[in-house]
Amino acid sequence: MCLGIPGQIIAVTDPARLMGMAEVSGVRREVSLACIATGPLEDLVGQWALIHVGFAMALIDEDEAAKTLEALRGLGEAQETLAAMAEGAAALEGRA
């Protein structure tokens, strides 16, 4: 549960709460940008970050993101994380 997963920040969704939309392996999920928001939030759009339990924790480069994702798939972690994201979405509706 401590590994996190790379995702690309594709939009800022709520500047007041420092929230943005990330795309993780084709799945979109709103994440907190608080830990990486050292400059203007807009500058983060397009960048890759290591995302852990809904928080972008560190910026990484695209090549690193690809390698990390591959390693996570090998460990079965990527699949588990995507399943957890789906569960989280279902839990909001009271379905999980």
Partner: protein
């Protein structure tokens, strides 16, 4: 050996394995008298088994699996307290999926859910916050679990709840910190460790200096590592090099993600919301001073222990471990999982008796899934 993964770059792996072997030879390491390297993080344990690194490295290298799986070190009493909170009809109990199957004295969260408790698996504490916003008439409790990697997420969520004045959200805090149990292991006269592979993502938050005591006070090397197999091999080699050269330092193999001083926003949020508990109980290791975090009085409204009067906030509590389980000895590297009388019999990933069998980061689960280390492979 089952499901062992291929290397992405087999040539680089071979080269690293050869250099590890050279260093091991230079140190005179043998299976009878091995160099003992502890990987602290459960993610590393999983990767070592997944890629069969324990079998591929020189036989004079022994991996000792550290206490770095937060689900595995959670004492049974804490699971019982979760179930107790979750069974309160006012409560929506939210948790990471990993924690669902950890056995409690009476039942696991999974069983409590089957029995009707409103328990929801979430991906993030932010999901729990959102559930609280949508259900103002219910008490939403998030099961805060994990090392320093995860701690900022609950700290920031509590800050957010406070900023919004959300009164029906609280965290059952079980956050723990990596350095204190390492101190305990190093102070144990029966424990012989020659070096450490340090956790990458914990260090992304706290930086590398919290490990300074390892070389300074104990003369042992530690290398903070990424979790890709080549990262791990590289880090093992860096540990061996230090031993060969008579050095003991904190080195950072994972500098591409781990800043020397950690993540300032995360550290500030942790410091604002949490303070060390005088002591916290670890499964297999017992009570360890200042090894766990609690929510500061300023945020008491968001502390489930205070709100529900349970856990360390309760008058008396009794911590018990299941009978016939060797989790403690396995956790401290004194016993291999296969030597536990319950392994594969009373205890399997489907029906875990001890927590080390629950998470994919637990060493018993890793042994069970991928086949054990050399000892078992014969």
């Amino acid at each position: 050996m089952r499901h062992t993964q291929e290397f992405r770059d087999p040539q680089a792996a071979r080269a690293l394995l050869a250099r590890i072997a050279e260093s091991a030879e230079a140190l005179g390491a043998t299976p009878e008298n091995p160099v003992r390297i502890m990987e602290i993080c459960g993610g590393h344990t999983h990767a070592i088994f997944r890629y069969g690194l324990d079998k591929l490295t020189h036989p004079g290298i022994e991996f000792i699996h550290g206490p770095g799986c937060p689900v595995c070190v959670l004492p049974m009493a804490r699971v019982d307290e979760c179930v107790q909170i979750a069974e309160d009809p006012r409560v929506i109990f939210t948790t990471f999926g990993d924690a669902m199957r950890v056995p409690g004295t009476r039942k696991s969260l999974m069983q409590a859910k089957a029995d009707g408790a409103d328990i929801r698996m979430v991906y993030s504490p932010l999901d729990a916050l959102e559930i609280a916003r949508r259900n103002p008439g219910r008490e939403v409790v998030f099961f805060g679990l994990g090392f320093e990697t995860t701690t900022p997420s609950t700290a920031l969520s509590i800050q957010q709840a406070a900023a919004e004045g959300l009164r029906n959200f609280s965290v059952f805090c079980n956050h723990i910190t990596v350095p204190p149990p390492i101190k305990v292991l190093l102070d144990d006269p029966h424990m012989r460790l020659d070096g450490f592979v340090g956790p990458g993502h914990v260090s992304m938050v706290i930086g590398i200096h919290p490990y300074d005591f390892i070389p300074r006070d104990h003369g042992k090397p530690i290398v903070v590592a990424g979790f890709e197999p080549l990262d791990l091999l590289q880090s093992v080699l860096m540990v061996l090099r230090q031993i060969c050269e008579g050095r003991a330092e904190v080195e950072n193999q994972y500098a591409r993600v781990v800043p020397e001083h950690g993540n300032p926003v995360s550290l500030a949020a942790i410091a604002d919301v949490y303070e060390p508990r005088p002591s916290f109980a670890w499964r297999g290791l017992g009570e360890i001073d200042e090894s766990g975090l609690q929510i500061r009085p300023a945020y008491a409204d968001y502390d489930a222990e205070v709100k529900f009067g349970i856990g360390y906030a309760a008058e008396s509590r009794h911590v018990e471990e299941p009978e016939g389980c060797a989790c403690g000895a396995v956790m401290t590297g004194r016993m291999k999982p296969v030597a536990c009388p319950q392994f594969g019999r009373g205890c399997t990933p489907e029906m875990p008796l001890g927590a080390l069998m629950v998470s994919s980061e637990g060493v018993c689960a890793a042994y069970y899934q991928y086949g054990g280390a050399r000892a078992e492979a014969g």
